[in-house]
Symmetry: C2
Subunit: 550 residues, 2 copies
Amino acid sequence: MAVKWWGWGDPDKTYDLTHRPAAWPYLQAKLGVRDEVQRSPVALDDIQLPSSRLDAAVLEALTEVGCSTRGQDRISHAYGKSYRDLVRVRAGHVPNPPDAVVFPTNEAQVEAVLALAARHGFAVIPFGGGTSVVGGLEMPADRAERPFVSLDLARMSALIEVDPVSMTATAEAGIMGPRLEELLQAQGVTLGHYPQSFEYSTLGGWVATRSAGQQSTRYGKIESMVVGLRILTPAGVLETRPVPAASQGPDLNQVAIGSEGLLGVITRVTFKVHARPPRQDYRALVFPGWAQGQAALRAIMQSDRRPATLRLSDQAETRALFKLREASKPSAWKAWGQKAFGWYLSRMRDVHMEDACLLIMGFEGDPEQVDQDRDWCVSLCELQRGVSLGHAIADRWYASRFDLPYLRDTMLDRGVMVDTLETSGLWANVPAIYEAVIKALEGAISADGLDPLVFCHVSHPYAAGASLYFTFAARQQLGQELEQWARYKRAATDALLAAGGSLSHHHGVGIDHAPWAREVLGDQGLAWIKGVKAAADPDDIMGPGRIIGS
Amino acid sequence: MAVKWWGWGDPDKTYDLTHRPAAWPYLQAKLGVRDEVQRSPVALDDIQLPSSRLDAAVLEALTEVGCSTRGQDRISHAYGKSYRDLVRVRAGHVPNPPDAVVFPTNEAQVEAVLALAARHGFAVIPFGGGTSVVGGLEMPADRAERPFVSLDLARMSALIEVDPVSMTATAEAGIMGPRLEELLQAQGVTLGHYPQSFEYSTLGGWVATRSAGQQSTRYGKIESMVVGLRILTPAGVLETRPVPAASQGPDLNQVAIGSEGLLGVITRVTFKVHARPPRQDYRALVFPGWAQGQAALRAIMQSDRRPATLRLSDQAETRALFKLREASKPSAWKAWGQKAFGWYLSRMRDVHMEDACLLIMGFEGDPEQVDQDRDWCVSLCELQRGVSLGHAIADRWYASRFDLPYLRDTMLDRGVMVDTLETSGLWANVPAIYEAVIKALEGAISADGLDPLVFCHVSHPYAAGASLYFTFAARQQLGQELEQWARYKRAATDALLAAGGSLSHHHGVGIDHAPWAREVLGDQGLAWIKGVKAAADPDDIMGPGRIIGS
């Protein structure tokens, strides 16, 4: 599947602002963009790559596995899709791409690559869909001299088995989201895992990074879907026995899950599947404020009812989402109706759109259960003065839910930095984490003399707490983009950890978050992970520097 | 709290067969007991203990922590409550008790004990409620020469905090089940964790062994309840950050959970709590056979409805449970009603009590949800020809659900071996695991020329599979009790592993299951656990030999 080497997703697709007349004027005003800039990625052919450091004998041995040293393959495997990655690749700054990209077709070939790595001293970085946003695919700068190959699992992408009795399925790790769902749904089942990267990410990548999908409230995060897996480490294979639950020591699945390529190559996963839900019901609500919306989410998650999706935007994100709407020419009647509804909201329900917080709430399952759960959850929202807006907004969100990453490319073309970061915390800590991160980002951007745009949504609520997903934007400081970004990232990460948040809820640690790993995991936590690493990968072949740093 | 040193639970309580007139004749006939025997535990004072191997200076240092070398303390900390343990302790066979029992009151004292252990070379085995049934509390025979202390957490038993916003609570690990629930329920919440050992086991013990409660279908196994914990290892403390979910590398909670004292001492746990359920509804049903009952459980667990308890007995267990009923003198009307109902079951519903399988199905939660879920689940049962028996049998089960362990003492008094073992597997494997274990146990017991009584129930069903809990009984081969038991245990464990089961669903590995750990975890799995062990406990102080063997 062709993907942009310099941006997100389908090369033929852009996030077009021309159909969204309010968007750019809004962003211009918010970000203080006066001088329009137009910046384009360098041409692929203009990127100067260092030549591969692997010697001819090694490359020949790798060729038996399927190996490329073509420039485009090395470039497209050099980075993930973070803001930092895109700034570098668009500028043609690729000083340390993989020395080769290998495409094994089976486990024996993966083992052959690991054996060659042990013998010749190069490192191996597993590659799924290439959508990491935490530096999960590159060699850390302090190990730049080490040759390495990117091990792309694209050719290990078979659905091996669906077990309709146990409602589990087994697939090779390299299978992409759409293909996996296509094959599963042809057999009447679904995994139900739809991260925003769904179209371009893989089963193995989800497992390696503890991914979360947009319906996680119903289907769980990926770590709760896995019942067994195979991971090939340099020291041998670990295959966990697929059972629904067990008491046989530490849970080794939960060590391999989230290992981010540090321990080995996840080649095969057995996971729970579900009957395709006969009914989906997605609707939007507005709350008079952020606190009320959070209270409703908490009440729902601490009840026995279970939506599939709960996504609550703060005031600033709600305003931004409405500005990003596509143009439509409402009929005079519809325009009048919208106006009347706005009057009703503000006069009768005391919900003022400028302070309102938008909730997308979705249900999936058997029709009777969906209806009961929805009515119950709507009631809990109404107790917090939430007002239903019906299906239209939610259905638009659902239809375009994988599109937002494209907007970043459009912004980069115009000299605007946009990045996201996320965390999670107990409900008791959520308000403080929220305040701390907003303040840290706005403060750091303002300190650069720039106008900040920072907003947030709750994307994955639980009974005990929630994840918070922040977006921050500012004009780029041209020529200083990475330093600029690093300041904001540092300020936000320091702030969220100090307020009790996790280092990440579903993006992972990678290289980017590794500097904070000791703070959040502690000396013992790092020592435990290093202990497993020493057992699985005594020669330090796998994924140098991720999670545990250098 | 006083507990029997030679048996289960409350010293003043026995499982009295005189009120159960059908029980003993049934067991006599089943087990071929012709010559009644009467066997009693030795007197406590008659047990000869080796003297403590710790020198005076060490004992003096331990005394500052709170330390006992009294015979009764050493005996009551020498074993858990497995059949093997009770056979030994009743015979006065306690050749290797702890050299001292320490009772720290705080973490500093735990650290002091670990530091002394490192300095003086003795080992430390953590002790919660002492109800291990897998040899979790003793020194393995091949390390018998190593001095060790039993570290009893009974004095670290405070409920530290209830967070009503996040619906979490934090408690010290040594708190016992009843006290924990008493304190939580006083604040309107519950943990909802009721293992059969509930009355005599601790929070820390549950976490260390991956315990499962009788309402696990609603509240989860203990590993899904924990949001954070503290574990003191010889190399330092690991405190995991309490968050609802995260993506920050391997899940270290899930390494500490199930570590069974191998890595360190769990001192503090933060866990989810739930509002006390306003309604409980427990009822019994019968199915015409085992396959129909399993099909109903699978249908329920793969639906969106969620009971609290699902406990399905096979035919043999159903028969045995009815034989264990207390005597009652039904009125003539009631007797006639029972007879008529039996006629209705067999003639109209084709359910014959001699082949019937009993299901206990319980619901907890808000009344509306309980009613809806119950009606739905009863319908799914009816599709499998299940027939509701109403509340009485289920309420009796509920009221006496912690009593069954007492029966083993009564059986031991009469020269009868009774033990249980459990496993878990995917639904696709459940029938094969069941058949294999029944056949292995019946075969091994018959090969000794004895009459076997073997039965089973599904105690913890999941969407993907279930746990199977087996009970096996036979006449004791007097003087050969341990060898006899070991043959049956070995046959059953070999069989369940070969059929795809887990080594244990909720009892753990301990010493007893460690010989099979390599088969089920693989070389890499063991190597990973040893890697963590080397990081946490480089001098091998903690829990020698459990899980990973020697």
